[in-house]
């Protein structure tokens, strides 16, 4: 894993226009690569050394931005939009259904390690709200029925 992260960092270095403009970019890449959709301690240390940024600074950045996590997440990270455009378009029902189906609250992971539920603000897909995001895919125009179908398919290991 560490050699892979080293590779990501050196690739990022080659893409920069200025010193330090690639910290967040690098963290995104690492999070995408590591299983569990998070940034583990070893990776943070490596970033700090390779980019010559104090460890405390890297952690400050990591914890400031909501897309990053230092805690391991489930196989499927479900981000549900809680902003007003989704809220008024029956978003509340979608959140209720998700919590009922998964039997977890926000920022929790199911016991089987399959799902993590997080809140997100507007995803810029208000034309088809309410909207959720599962890993890198979006799902819009949702109804509680559609949500249940998606979750059940994922539970059965099927493609959605």
């Amino acid at each position: 894993m560490l050699t892979e992260i080293k590779k990501i960092i050196s690739h990022a270095k080659s893409e920069r226009l200025e010193e330090r403009d690639i910290l967040i970019y690098t963290l995104h890449k690492i999070q995408e690569t590591i299983e569990g959709n998070y940034i583990p301690e070893e990776a943070v240390k490596l970033v700090s050394e390779e980019l010559n940024i104090p460890l405390s600074k890297v952690y400050e950045v990591l914890t400031f931005y909501s897309m990053f996590s230092i805690k391991k997440r489930g196989k499927y990270l479900i981000r549900v939009c809680t902003s007003l455009p989704c809220h008024v378009a029956n978003g509340r029902e979608i959140i209720k259904t998700l919590k009922e189906e998964l039997k977890i609250d926000f920022n929790q992971t199911t016991d089987d390690g399959l799902f993590t539920l997080e809140e997100t603000s507007c995803l810029g897909l208000c034309g088809v709200s309410p909207v959720i995001m599962i890993n890198n895919e979006y799902y819009g125009d949702l109804t509680p029925k559609k949500v249940r179908e998606i979750i059940n398919k994922l539970k059965r290991g099927e493609n959605i």
Partner: protein
């Protein structure tokens, strides 16, 4: 060119409504009927409508909205095979380009290519006058470009409305070994999705504008800072940058002018505050995105302490057209103080959701007609401008939307959102949702914003449980006024706008919760009192 072209929108919104499947189906139909030499299928950006996937048949100039695969088959079999229009699927849609001028006031400057060209094909952009403005600009003196932009009256489309020409002039006049151009594509304003659709539908217009800006102010490096969640935008911009380098519109000695410009993408990571320009710069520099105290402003001291121009995506997309057609052409649209057009986004309980580009100064009432009216019950209120914008009731629907509207009528243009809310919703619940957003997104640097948003949410929770008093309402107003006067940046100064507009325009409903313990929408519920446990 083949005799028939079918355009299908494959922007993010359309994909969620099945655009990819419909595209596959269309392709197989063309093959099955052996129409390979007759029909071309072209993927494009949005055509503006989200009741279904928009499919356009050219040269007939007929637009359809398809919701199911059966619809797609019907369009193909009826229109393409038999030459008959499918009337029940046709969109007599006022926000699409039609030849009937009386139907629409739409003017497409920013969205001129969206839904017309394949955004991933640089040659299609060039074929539609793409990079011609750059060639023209490189033969002009920077002073003359600034003069033209100033004369056009173009103002920042991100929300603040600062004159673009002045911003460029300030940066131009500074002396520095390095200057930067930054495109603010960190669109986080709830309800706003225009920048996403511009980047997905016409990415080269942003790149062209940034190179022109760089040449004008003397900057040789640029960044596009895109929201981390916007995968589609990132993909299309990335491809566009790559192709622009290949064709010599980026890099060294651009079009043999001796001018060099490098451009790179940087990603946001889920922080609304990074849409604030100085917070965005902090983020590119590898810090947590906390705003800086201004002045100095970015044109003097911006990215890495160097002079920097920061423009919104929509602002930049106007630039090539102004250079090509001139300031006088641009000024014929919109109003005296707000020339040009605005891309409006419809969100919430409205029948037609999507984007539409209209001249500045259009009224909220007219916009609601384009939005097809309210969905569900009756319309209760409209929020204009985005989450930091104003909530208004019907009495203000005649307000024209331009940069002066807020000062004159207390109605905000902001980023151009029209969010409809029907009467199944409660004002307190709406206010709570808005304030929870700001509480979460406050960066915590200054007290009025960090503490003010928290206190406001608490008071609104109390109101929702029928436990608030009139003093609480007074406190809420005071919190809002304090933040407006004393907060450090635009976020802290603007959360009072939606809050106060709700209190001012729907005061009766606030008082109903306080005095009568009653919620007209039946959303707020009294929380049963817990029995106090005895403390030993």
């Amino acid at each position: 060119m083949k005799p028939i072209t079918i355009l299908i929108s494959v922007d993010s919104n359309s994909i969620l409504l099945g655009a990819k499947e419909f595209l596959k189906l269309l392709k197989s139909l063309v093959k099955d009927y052996n129409f390979d030499n007759i029909v071309d299928i072209l993927e494009t950006g949005t055509l503006g409508n989200y009741n279904g996937v928009t499919i356009a048949v050219m040269p007939d100039n007929v637009f359809y909205s398809a919701k199911t695969k059966e619809d797609v088959v019907k369009i193909f079999e009826e229109h393409i095979l038999k030459g008959r229009k499918v009337l029940d699927l046709e969109i007599n849609h006022k926000n699409l380009i039609t030849k009937k001028e009386s139907l629409t006031k739409e003017i497409r400057i920013v969205t001129r290519n969206i839904g017309k060209i394949d955004p991933k094909n640089i040659e299609e952009y060039i074929a539609n006058n793409g990079y011609f403005a750059l060639a023209k600009a490189l033969e002009m003196k920077p002073e003359n470009i600034i003069e033209e932009i100033k004369k056009s009256g173009l103002r920042g489309r991100g929300g603040a409305g600062f004159p673009t020409g002045l911003k460029w002039e300030f940066t131009f006049k500074t002396n520095s070994d390095q200057k930067y151009i930054v495109c603010n594509a960190d669109e986080g304003e709830p309800g706003t999705y225009k920048d996403r659709l511009i980047m997905e539908g016409d990415p080269h217009s942003i790149i062209e504008a940034m190179v022109i800006a760089g040449y004008t102010v003397g900057a040789t490096k640029g960044y596009i800072y895109i929201r981390g969640e916007y995968y589609g935008s990132v993909e299309n911009i990335k491809k566009a940058i790559h192709d622009a380098y290949e064709y010599g519109f980026l890099g060294k000695n651009i079009l043999n002018s001796g001018f060099n410009f490098d451009l790179s993408i940087r990603l946001g990571a889920g922080a609304y505050i990074c849409g604030e320009e100085t917070a965005l710069l902090e983020s590119i520099e590898g810090h947590a995105g906390r705003p800086r105290l201004k002045p100095p402003y970015p044109p003097q001291s911006g990215l890495f302490g160097k002079p920097t121009v920061i423009n919104n995506v929509e602002t930049l997309a106007n630039i090539p057209q102004i250079i090509l057609n001139g300031a006088d052409w641009f000024r014929q649209f919109g109003t005296e103080n707000s020339p040009g057009t605005k891309v409006f986004c419809f969100a919430g309980n409205l029948n037609n959701r999507g984007i539409v580009e209209l001249p500045m100064g259009i009224t909220v009432k007219e916009l609601l007609v384009y939005a097809g009216g309210v969905s569900g019950e009756n319309l209760k209120m409209v929020q204009t401008g985005g989450i930091a914008g104003t909530f208004i009731d019907e009495s203000k629907f005649d307000t024209p939307l331009d940069y002066d509207s807020f000062a004159k009528y207390g109605v905000s243009l902001g980023s151009g959102v029209i969010l409809g809310v029907n009467d199944t919703h409660c004002v307190i619940d709406i206010a709570k949702n808005v304030m929870e957003f700001f509480r979460h997104e406050s960066c915590g640097k200054c007290t009025p914003c960090r503490e003010g948003t928290k206190m406001a949410v608490k008071i609104l929770e109390k109101m929702g449980q029928f436990q608030a008093t009139k003093t609480d309402l007074d406190n809420l107003i005071e919190i809002a006024n304090t933040a407006r006067e004393t907060a450090l940046c635009g976020l802290g100064q603007s959360f009072p706008v939606p809050l106060l507009s709700l209190i001012n325009n729907f005061k009766d409903e606030f008082l109903d919760h306080i005095e009568n313990k009653h919620c007209i929408a039946n959303i707020c519920k009294r929380v049963p009192k817990k029995k106090k446990s005895k403390v030993k």
